[in-house]
């Protein structure tokens, strides 16, 4: 055996070494709710300090992929690590914003109570909420422009305000990896700008951001990397390289007219 025989594997070795430390590394992930797999044999590696979009049609398995990465749903198979360790050991470094419609906004809680939920791992079962917890929660509300709503019942918020509160709760988690499921769904342009500014701020602090995103027109503007998925992974990498008309066609099939793709900023053929 000469050193030469190792050369063909050098790329893989380098990739695995990167995956070893990556904020999130997924290998061979398959998730199924019934007979049909929702996510099939997906590999992906998140680049640290980058903002990555998960893009794909409805039912493509975007939410499922995120939930599996967080250990919310149990996969059929696959290996998932966060920062080089099993996700269960890294929960304190991961923040999650579920789809807004997935919770009951009639729940008896005020805005500040929801933000404090982000500090659950600090507070534990019986730890008292102290002044510095409240101050930090108000700080997080301030960063999303919701200071004045701290004592408002959550059912009395607009959709965009609810989304901001969810983001504030994630900020309260003070994590290294942020996962957000469709944070721009049903929010107006002003809120979208506010949210993206906060996310870019996190990225600029060196944190990693992963977002399930639906609006193809803004992918190139908002994100560094993109993962295209339609049950299987279609492509992953920097937006400038993989956000192409061919890849989008493969992701969306006939559902997206070619001319439409051509008009997308950043989606060169």
């Amino acid at each position: 055996m000469s050193a030469l025989s190792l050369v063909p594997n050098a790329d893989r070795v380098a990739a695995d070494a990167a995956a070893l430390r990556a904020p999130l590394a997924i290998r061979g992930l398959t998730v199924s709710y019934g007979q049909q797999p929702a996510v099939f044999s997906v590999d992906m590696t998140l680049r640290a300090g980058a903002m990555t979009a998960i893009v794909g049609p409805n039912g493509a398995g975007k939410s499922t992929l995120m939930k599996a990465a967080l250990g919310i749903v149990t996969p059929l198979s696959g290996r998932i690590t966060a920062f080089g360790a099993p996700v269960e050991l890294q929960r304190h470094r991961i923040a999650y914003v579920p789809q807004r419609a997935s919770v009951d906004w009639d729940f008896p809680a005020r805005v500040i109570d929801v933000v404090l939920m982000g500090m659950y791992r600090d507070l534990g079962l019986l730890g008292r909420v102290r002044a510095h917890h409240r101050d930090f929660a108000r700080d997080c509300l301030d960063r999303v422009g919701m200071t004045d709503f701290a004592d408002r019942q959550i059912g009395q918020l607009s959709g965009g305000q609810q989304q901001r509160v969810f983001l504030a709760r994630a900020l309260a988690q003070n994590a290294d990896l942020y996962m957000l499921d469709e944070p721009f769904a049903g929010v107006d342009a002003a809120t979208e700008k506010a949210i993206i500014a906060v996310l870019k701020g996190l990225r600029d602090e060196g944190r990693t951001v992963l977002v399930v995103h639906h609006d193809l027109a803004t992918v190139a503007e908002y994100f560094d990397d993109v993962l295209l998925i339609a049950t299987r992974k279609v492509a992953e990498g920097p937006v400038t390289q993989v956000f192409t008309a061919d890849n989008l066609q493969a992701t969306y099939g006939g559902r997206l007219a070619t001319q439409q793709i051509d008009r997308l900023p950043g989606a060169g053929a």
């Binding site: 919310i72 579920p98 919770v103 729940f107 939920m117 659950y120 791992r121 534990g124 079962l125 059912g155």
Partner: protein
């Protein structure tokens, strides 16, 4: 209010109030999770457990019956989970199947076996025997400090008090994860909270409260207390802690008012016999819910106005 009250009314009122609070506490979370009918269902599924316990021991002993009821509740929870997973149907449908089947099984068992000689009938199951839980050893308020008289307290009082302590401890210790997983299960799981186990624990604790209350006051109060005080409390406030506080107040109020009205109410209206205390307590809790729905500051419509 003198010696008569202490002998005849004090313990039933106390037992009624403790049972009501023990059911209302977990009821808050069940109502918020849209699982309120679990309380009702539990009181049905425990029937076969009680009958089996009777058939095994051959006597109407309380402890085996409570154990039998608790086992039946656990079997029901396990069956629901199995039906839901294997049948791939929604939880509500799975509960419906399991509860009906188990209740029917209990009725069949009851009919097939010779239980007619004992007091194991439908009326008892529904209304309990709250009025009979009197304190014969008491001779007045002074008996509260008399060890001999205290030893003669009805055993149901101790059992329901112990149950309430257990339920209150569970609610207090797991308050945060319970609230979190009720509001946002996905987020709770992402924090590492084992929401499945917690939900199961909530059902088991509810079953414990239901079984202990069932033993003392019958299933009609159990059903009412799981739902009415928490639902009324939700209409009073927008904070979880305050809601649970209100539900405790409403539960106690229902027990006291209901018992007094059942005992003395018919007399005030010139009617002869008194009515069932359990039935009246349930009725009062329903009236409180109706009042909260009309006047509660957080009822629908009132919120828009603020």
């Amino acid at each position: 209010m003198g010696a008569d009250f202490v002998t005849l009314s004090l313990t039933p009122i106390l037992i009624g109030a403790l049972a009501a609070v023990a059911c209302a506490l977990p009821g808050n979370f069940l109502v918020l999770r849209r699982q309120a009918l679990i309380g009702d269902a539990i009181s049905h599924v425990v029937l076969p457990g009680i009958v089996v316990a009777f058939l095994i021991t051959g006597a109407v002993a309380t402890l085996p019956m409570i154990l039998g009821a608790a086992c039946a509740a656990l079997v029901a929870v396990a069956l629901i989970e199995a039906v839901r997973r294997l049948g791939r149907i929604e939880p509500g449908a799975a509960m419906g199947v399991v509860f009906t089947a188990m209740f029917a099984g209990g009725v069949l068992l009851l009919e097939q076996s010779d239980t007619s000689s004992v007091h194991l009938d439908v009326e008892h199951a529904l209304y309990g025997n709250l009025e009979s839980l009197i304190w014969l050893d008491a001779s007045g308020w002074g008996s509260l400090t008399d060890p001999v008289a205290l030893a003669g307290l009805p055993p149901e009082l101790g059992r329901i008090a112990l149950t309430l302590v257990a339920v209150a401890l569970f609610t207090g210790i797991f308050w945060r994860p319970l609230a979190l997983s009720t509001f946002d299960e996905g987020f709770a799981r992402s924090l590492g909270i084992r929401t499945g186990a917690l939900g199961l624990a909530l059902v088991v604790v509810s079953a414990l409260a239901a079984v202990a209350a069932f033993d003392a006051v019958g299933s009609i109060i159990v059903i009412a207390m799981f739902i009415c005080p928490p639902a009324a409390a939700r209409l009073m406030t927008d904070r979880l802690g305050a809601q649970v506080g209100w539900s405790v107040v409403f539960a106690i109020l229902s027990a006291i008012l209901g018992y007094v009205l059942a005992g003395y109410g018919p007399g005030w209206f010139g009617l002869g016999a008194s009515v069932s205390a359990a039935g009246m307590i349930a009725t009062v809790s329903g009236v409180i819910l109706a009042l909260a729905a009309v006047f509660g500051p957080r009822r629908r419509g009132a919120i828009v106005a603020t």
